[in-house]
Structures are given as structure tokens and as C-alpha cells.
Symmetry: D3
Subunit: 244 residues, 6 copies
């Protein structure tokens, strides 16, 4: 299997990786992983309401501000590399060139695992579209005939991180990750998202309640781990193991 | 989490554990686990067609023969303990006493993980009924008010092993286990099932093809593990992890 | 495969077979099948509102009236044999003896195919319970160790006939049967159900609209069959064929 | 439709109605509804870990304590009537007599709507069993032949309240109820559950985050209602309306 | 929430709104709503078989005839405004400009609720494609950065109206609307569809049988509303309510 | 219904039809069908790893070699006509012109049934995309306004053939076809796929195990057909029949 500790997060808009996978990012950075984040857009049109309510706002100003916030959050989470594809949002459209650009990143990173959005999201089709593209680009990166001579991709897991309304998105976590040790980093990253302050408390609650689910599933009142904060993920592909 | 390496297999009929989890059993025995198998029935009425075609067969003779085969298979797989509840089959009916008996075993074993059948089986309701009972008894074993003073159960995973027609049973494996190292043991156990010789080849094919799925999911032609035999399992509960 | 043309309908209440499978029964009778109907209850408590609104009604009177109607309908449909198990309804409870009685019928009939209710029915748990029992008794009838020496059952299809609110029951038809040739018989049988006149028009509409679905799926405006009345069925088991 | 404002909550264990539907209860009491709660068991064996850790605890003491807590919570929520069926838990078993007792309550209350657990719960089969019984007893209560002469039940909605791990239970809310006005009552009721203090914070988080979902679904940043606390429910049956 | 009574129907082909939502349109018009209908295409290639069988037919003639029929039907239903996007059908393709045009309509109308097709339709991908676009354009209309300064959209429900073969489309109605009072208007609109006379009777049957479902779900033989005609709808988003 | 015996296979890559439907093709050829195969791409980039590992390989050489193998396999299976659309793979993109080209083939062939891939494939989006296109082109081929004057398509079944990891693709076979009589032909065709020798044994195992499923579903130990090799298919549309 992969030699290096690397991971890749594919985020539709520039803040998604913070709320949904900030703990996983900081934790794996702490474990020695180089975590790369790709933001396909800045979420400049659809996820920047607060900015647009300011006087004299322009698309460029919004994008600059969203980029600044994302870079700060990435720093707080010890992200190795963050890339902005600037493909536009609402709707996010991805042509063949953009796909190949994403394939280039995947091959360069050779991630042990990838992270992206839920399969379905009736509120935000940019999210589900991103996941479809993540699967498609994973497939292209595995093709020996795509840029022959490059190192082809193995079979990294694709974890789907937590959407805003899990049940409406048909998202079911099969993996809970204890992020207690890096909670302060995630909290700091969340607080970089100045334009979406209404979500800070929401995602703190999520982390606490997922901590409860972690405790319950690791043994409950009889031997469970005292995790205080956790994140949940849904796996797309089966695991291959040597021990159950 | 649990200190001891233990596992528990709950099998509706006395041969199910062999075809469906023989590799997992032998592998974990090799890894130092004590694996206990509970056979709720012998499958004496419904899964012993070949025996019933013999002259002068009786229910007791069938049960004795099925028990002998299962004990031999258990030995071949290095099972730590095999218990026969003799509850009858086709249909398998489980009253409160039998549930409590199973709870006693669960608490005595304190398994790190459990194994049982698929959630649904339109061909064999004994199978799906067993899984429901496994979940129910896991719940009772966790209850502090059941036989107060006993050590209560933590939260072991329940893996559903492979049914005969996976797609008809709505069974989807999320975990593939490499059983190459213990394949000879599983093969030996399979061949103890003298009454069901028509299934030997079938389950050898299954193991080989699951080996292919293991290879594909561990990296395919780019870094995948060269597993030759594997078994697949579906998890009922989410995992709790420290690293993705 | 089976030599004789036989079919078995398992109906929770004594009128279900009429609305839901009357066309299939009459058509197969016409094709030379011997069709047996088992009514597990009379629907005397839960499906006889009109009767209970009469003066001086008793359980026995309701059952007698329901039986009379069902026998008339069976006659109109050319049913070969109709049996009443009189197990009570709302709720319908089926113990081991009743299961074995049903297994006896299944083995005696040796049906080429069976018919029963949808898998799920949040309005009427007697219906879904009946289907579960039908699958369980099919399994017992296949067991060589159940009444050894009797002819065991092969693997007849189990078709689920149309429930009252298809979408709420999660029922999806995969087979439409043209019943145009026997519509008059089904209509006559429906009109035997004097206590449920409010459903006559409803099930006529169903038959007409399923006729439309038949036409559309047999070729539409380009070669479709001009069926005027049809019934829909969902198969539980896969088919085995020599030609697609 | 029903003339009186009444509602019925069917709770597997004596605390379930508090966490999962306390807001709905208090709110409808405020709206003039008479809300009846039936607790099928006290949760004395399986949901009273803290009590069982005390010296000299007995089943009767646990039940008394659990009853006291539930009665206090009911008072805090302005429950009209609370009934304890004392059927035992882990497992909760319900025979025909208990069903008829529940039918008697349903008919006496003639609820405009009912509340119970999720359809599926792999952690707690008492919960899903209760829901199945709720649907079955609703059906029996509608039967004209059950205790003829009594007023039969109409077709009240059955709402499934929020389980502990929504995604694992396959529960999907289709209705969010604003409970901001009665949050203090729900908080007070929660704090009556002295034996399960570890859940107080969890369910406060749930109420806050469902408040966010309420805001989002009522219009978001463009006209949404500023609900601070909400509860979610899944409907079993379709609604019948005069306006979309 | 929205101040004005407005609704928006998004119809893939020019006749869809009649069969599937004609009652809802006429009823809401009667209730004082301004109902706007957008027909993305005329259904000129794929849903005009009868016209194409005439001598000397051309695409323009078919479109003109289909438009005439749709305008007549809209008039019969008291539609406030009907717009034809003329995007072509079989297949219906929708580029970014067409999406923005639809967003303009959505923002201009500011609908309290929207209506469109089922999520899935293996017979007619134009239908499911339309629904996806409806969700995407709803999302764009909510974006503060799309045409900043315009009034952004709140969170209107999206109801999916009844497809031709409900079970094949995986469509499940959760809302039945009593259209008895406007049935004559719907009937008149249906009869404007001269080219599809074979569907008149079909959709009359549908309306009658949905009336039966309405009666059953509003109380059945114990207090149900005597609706004679109804339409069914599936909601995409959860409701936000003050009373269950 | 259709007069001529014809069938159409739509294969994303040039080898898919061999592994997944080779038996069905050879069997129907033997039954007098003219079977046409359309390969949308050669699978030159993504399914030709072995070739790309050779020195001096180019895209054209890979395509030529893949075409040669597919033509040989087609010959071994008695394919009537094989067409290569050469649309490129990984990703496979299909524009309006390519759709119309496929519609032309469908109309020319007028297939009694069509064969294509599973609805979903998280490993290979070319596969699921092909199925969507197959459904869309079937729809266009049915449109009287598409190339008016041509013979429009009826309503052929679309069978989805077996994917590589059935459970991960959500594929459920409802039809098993006995291919024992043509197994040697399928074996010969498989062996034409020189570049994918690692799959020969895998698909032999599949055929044997599907043979077991055929036997079980045709009657098992009581009257089942002794099929040795079979293929499984999932139907998209309901069947229309004269006898169950």
C-alpha cells in the first residue's frame, strides 16, 4: 500500500473543509500526514451572504475575502497545501480541463485517503456534483493510459464528510474519528470563518454530539473511550483488512 | 476497550459458520483470539437433504451427524469453544429462556466482535431471525439491570457474514478480510461438511473472487495486496477510530 | 420443473384475493391451472365495517357472511379449492400449528407459483405478516426433514399482489398480466363483495390503469398490445429462463 | 376530523418521551391539547445504569425511581395523563392482552396524532418493536369488530420522534416543530431525569441544531423564522390537506 | 415567510402540468394564488405522436399546436402566467443561460411553493432532468451573490407531482390535496389536450382513486372527509410548523 | 410485439460485453437472434493496463489491439454486427451527435431487448453513464418527432448485466439465464481478451456460481434444472405477460 502519509480533501466551496473535516485534517497533520486541500470554488456567490450585505461589494472582493479566511483556517489546521481552482459556484461547473487538473493533483499527492461531500444534497447540488467528480477523477487517476508514464493511483478510500442536514442528504456515518486532541485547532479554524459566524455554535454542537456517538460506539458505559469531540464519515468503498 | 482477544459467531444452523466465516475464525485463532461458536440449531430439518435421502434416517441420527461434522470443522478452524443450543430449525424459534442463555454466552465471552447472518433472507427466515436475535441479545447483555453484578457488555461490532445469494439478501460487504494464510484450514473445514458436498466448489469460488475484490480495493494494479482468498463482511455499527 | 399446472393464493382476509388477484386466478383457471386459495382469516373484525353497522350483528354472523361472499367470489373466478383457516384478524396471529397446516397445503398443492401480500403495510400489519409467513412456510415446505417421505416443495415464485396504496407499501410491480379476457369474471367476483361496495369502482379503475401500463410496457404506440385490463405483481425471487 | 384536541405518546421506556418529544408535548399542552403518555416499561433494566451502580439496588427500587422521575417530567411538560404499563424491558415483550390494553387507551384518547419511536433501531430493539406495536394497535383501534359499539379510531398521523443516532436508525425528519416558546419546560423536564445526566447536554445541542434546521427550512437568511429550539419528526402516513 | 400568495410549476413538456398538477393549480388560483407555469419545452418531438401521424406535419406546426393546447388548458385552470422556454425535448438540454432565465422567473415569482416532476423516471429522462434543474435553480435563486441587489429566494417547498407509473419512478406521495371543488376545471383542462385523448380517462381514474386515498387518510369510515377527487404530491424538503 | 429476433448490447468499453453478457449473446445467436454490439469506446485509457506496460505503446496501438480482441470475441460469440463509436474513455463523454448516432442504431436494429451496465458504479462512472445514455436513447428512439417517417421503437426491455462488484454497485439480478449450452463459446471469447487474463478465472467462477443460483431458483434439490453455467440480469422495466 501507499508508502507516504498523505491525504486529499476536495471541497466544493472554500469553507466546507473547515466545518466538515477540520478535525480530521488537524489530527492527521499531527500524525505526520501531509494534507492537501482543493477548493473548487470560493463559494463566492452562494455562501457569502454576509459579505454581500456590505456596501460596495464585488465578486473579486468576496473571492479575496473568502480566500483569506480559507488560508487562515488551513494554517490553523496545519494543512500542507491548499489550492483554489476558482471554478465558480452556484452552479459549480467542471469541464474536462478542470477534471484533468484535479487528476494531476490526485496523482501528485497519491493520497492514502480522500475526503469529499455526501452523495446527495437537495439543498446544494454543488456538493453532490463535487463528490461525483471526485469519484470520476479518482477513476481517471487510476487509468494507465492517462498521461502514460506517470505514477497511477492505487485505491484510496473516499470518505464523505458530514453535510449540514444529514438525514435529508441520506448520509450515514460508518466511521467516527476522535478529534478531542485537536479540537482547539478546529475551533480556531472555525473562528477564521468570519462571514459565517452563525455556524460556529452549530458545528461545535455537532462535534460534541458526535463525541457522544463515539463514546457510545466504543463501549458506552462499559469501557467506552471518553472522547469529547468527534467527526463522522461515510465510506464509499469497502475496507481491506488483516483483522476484524 | 476490551482487553482480551475474543470473538463470537452466532450461527443459525450448524454449518453456516464454516462456509461464511471459516476464514475469519481460523485467522483470528491464529492471531491469538479465542473464538466461540454458537449453533442455535443443527439445521437438521432444513439443511440436511442428503442425510434424509438415506434409508432409516431419524431426527436424532441427523442431529448427531450434523454435530459431528460441525465439531470436526470447528477443530479444523481452531475454534476455542463450540456450543449447540439445539433449538430446532425450519422454523427456528427462540423464546426468552433461549435469549437469556445466549446473553450468558455473550457476557462470558465478552467478544471484541460478533459475527452473524444477513439482515434479510427471503429464502431462509431462520437466518434473518438469528441476526435480529443477535442484536437483541447484544442489547440485553449491555443492560446493567440484567443479572446485576455481572460484567456488562461493551459495544462490539456485529459483522454480517456472506449469505448464499448476496444480492437477493440486500447484503453489501464493507470489509474484506485476507484469508490467504488460513485458506487450507478453511478448505479442510469445508470438506468436513460431507452432507453438503455440492457447496464445496461454490464457496471456493466465492473465496477466490472475494480475493479479487480484496486486491482491487487494496490498490489494484498499482500497489494492491496479492491476496488469493478473502471473505467479505457487512458492519452493523459504525467504527470508532484514531486514524482514517 | 413442476409437471402440473397449480397455483396457490395466500390471503390474509377472505376478500383480499378478489381485489388483488382475481384476474390472475380466473386467467390461470382458464389456462388449465388448479388454483387453491387459503384465507387465513375472514377479516371479520377489521374489514367488515358495513356488517358491524347492522343491528344485532355477532362475530359468527360476520364470519358466515364473509365466508359466503368469498365462496361466491371463488366460484365466479373458477377457483379449484378455497380453504378458510379462521385464525382471527386484527391482529392475525399464526402459531406453529397454523404454519404446519399451511405447509401441508403448500405441499399438497405443489404450486408452480404462489401469490400473497406486499412486504410492508403500515396500515395493515396482518398483510405484511401474512407475506412473512408465506415465505417461512415455503421454506419449511422445502425442508427434507419436515415430515420425511412427503414430496418436498421446489422453488415456486412468490408474487406479491397489489396493495391498496402501493407507494405507501413500497410495492413495485415488475410483472403486468393481461386480464382482459377474464375481466367479466373478475367484475362478477368483485360484485360478490357486497359489504365493500365502496371498493368496486376503485378496483375497476386500478384494472383499467394497469391496462394502460401494460400497453405502454408492451410497446406503447408502436406495437403494444391493446390490453384493456391488467393486474400488477412484484416478484420476490429471480426468474430462471432459457431466453431473455 | 377529530373534534377534540388530543394527542398520544407511546414510549418504550419511561424517559423516552422527555428527550424526544418533550417540546411537542409542552407546546401542544399550551395550545390546548390534552396529551396522554403511555410508558410501556420503566426502562428499569436497560436504561438505568446509574441507579444500578448504587449499593443495594433492586428492580422495584429502580422502577419506583424511574416512575418518580417520569411523573415529575410529565408534570413539567403539562402532560394530561401518564400511564405505566410495566411490561418489562430489554426485551420489551407485548402480548395480546397488552395490545388490547393499548387499544383501549387509543380509543379512549381518540388522538389527533400519535408519537412513537423510529422504525428501526439496531441498538435498541425495544424501540422499533414499540413502533410496530403502535401501528398494529392503531389498526386494531380502527376495526369495527373490535369491541363493537365503541367509538372506532379515525386515521391519526403517527409521528416518529428523534432517536439517539438518527442516521444509524434510518430516521429522516420531514417535519420540524418550533419549540422555542416551551424550551424552558422541556429543559425542566430533562433535568428531572437525574439518572441520565450525561444526556442533558446532548439533547440541548440537538434542540439548538434542530432550531438551525428550522430556520434554514423556513426561509434561511431570506425570511426564515428565528426559531431557537426545535424538534424533528418523521411522518408514517401521508397528510390530507386543502392547501399546499 | 412569503407575503404573497404565489406558486410556480416547472413542467418539462407543455402538457405535464395539466395531468399532474391541474387540480392544485386551479385550487390555489381559487384560493387567491397567482400560479405561474413554465414549460421548458413543448414536448414537440416526444409527446406528440398523434400530431406526427398527420400528413405534412412539421416541427413548427407541432409546437404551435402544443402551445395552443397548453394555453387553453392554462386558461381553464386560471393560471396567472404561462411561459414557454422552447428548449427542445427528447432530450431536453438546459445550459447555463437557460438556468439563469429560470432563476429570473423564480425570483420574480417568489413562490411559496414550487411543483415539478419525480426524482427518477426511467421512461422519460427529460422529467427527472427537469427536477434536478428545479433544485439547482432554487439554489441559485437563494444565492446572495447572484445578481446582487435582487430579492433572493427564501426556502419554498418543492412538491413532486404524480408521474405516469408511480412505482417505477420511486415516487411516494406524502401529501394528498382535495381537488373536488375544482375538478370540473381540471377536467376541462384535460380535454384541451386533444392530441393525447388516450390519457383523459387514465387521469380521471387517477383523480378518483387518489380521492379514495384522501378519504382513507383523513379518517376512513370514521370521520374521513368525503373528497371525490384528489392529487398526490411528494415533498422534497421538511416542513416547518407550529403545530403537528 | 417485435417480429424479428434482434438484440442490442451497449458496452461502455470494448471488452465489457464479453465478461458480462457473452453467454446471453451466444445463446440468443443460437436461438436465431441477430445480436448487435455497440462499443462506445475501446477502454483504451482505463482498461488496458497490461498494454500500457509495454514499451513504445501509443493510444492508436492500444485502440487497434483492443478492437482486434473485441472483434475476435464477437466472432466467437456469433455476434451479428459490432460497431465501435470510439468516443474515448475515462471519462466517456457523449454529446448530442453521439446520442443520435446511437438512436440510429437502435432504430435500425429494433431490438426485442437491450443490454447494458448497472445503474450505479462508484469505481467506474463510464459504466453508469452508459446506462443512463442507453435509457435516454431508448426514449429518443420512441419519439415520433425524431426523424419523422422512420419506424419508431417499441418498448424493449433493458437488462443490466453483471458488474464487477455487484453489491457495491447496488445491482440485483432478477433473471438468471442458463448458458450451459454455449459456455464453450463464452470461454473462447473470454480467452480472446489477452490483455485482461487476470479476469478469465474470475468470470469462470462467476458463471459457475450463477449456475448454482439458477439451480436453486429453478427448484433446488427438488426438481431444479441442472444448469452448470448461468448469467444474471437486472430488468429496468416491468414485464408484460399472458401467464405468470
Amino acid at each position: 500500500m501507499a508508502q507516504d502519509k498523505t491525504a486529499l480533501v476536495i471541497s466544493a466551496h472554500s469553507a466546507d473543509f473547515v466545518w466538515r473535516a477540520g478535525g480530521a485534517i488537524a489530527l492527521h497533520a499531527k500524525l505526520g500526514y501531509q494534507v492537501t486541500v482543493v477548493c473548487l470554488s470560493y463559494g463566492e456567490r452562494g455562501e457569502s451572504a454576509k459579505l454581500w450585505k456590505s456596501e460596495g461589494m464585488t465578486l473579486d472582493k468576496v473571492k479575496a475575502e473568502r480566500r483569506r479566511e480559507a488560508e487562515n483556517a488551513a494554517k490553523a489546521l496545519d494543512v500542507h497545501d491548499i489550492q483554489f481552482f476558482d471554478l465558480g459556484d452556484y452552479p459549480l461547473e467542471i469541464d474536462r480541463d478542470a477534471k484533468y487538473r484535479l487528476v494531476d493533483v490526485i496523482r501528485a499527492v497519491q493520497p492514502r485517503f480522500m475526503l469529499s461531500h455526501s452523495h446527495y444534497d437537495p439543498y446544494n447540488l454543488d456538493h453532490s456534483h463535487t463528490t461525483k467528480i471526485a469519484m470520476e477523477c479518482r477513476m481517471i487517476a487510476q487509468a494507465w493510459g492517462h498521461n502514460p508514464g506517470e505514477k497511477v493511483l492505487g485505491a484510496p478510500q473516499l470518505y464523505l464528510f458530514e453535510p449540514h442536514q444529514t438525514e435529508q442528504m441520506g448520509w450515514k456515518p460508518d466511521t467516527f474519528l476522535d478529534i478531542t486532541d485537536v479540537w482547539e485547532k478546529k475551533k480556531a479554524a472555525i473562528e477564521c470563518m468570519e462571514g459565517q459566524e452563525h455556524l460556529w455554535h452549530f458545528y461545535t454542537n455537532v462535534a460534541e454530539n458526535r463525541g457522544n456517538h463515539f463514546r457510545r460506539n466504543s463501549g458506552g458505559q462499559s469501557g467506552g473511550r471518553a472522547a469529547r469531540y468527534a467527526e463522522g464519515f461515510q465510506s464509499v468503498y469497502p475496507r481491506t483488512v488483516d483483522e476484524l
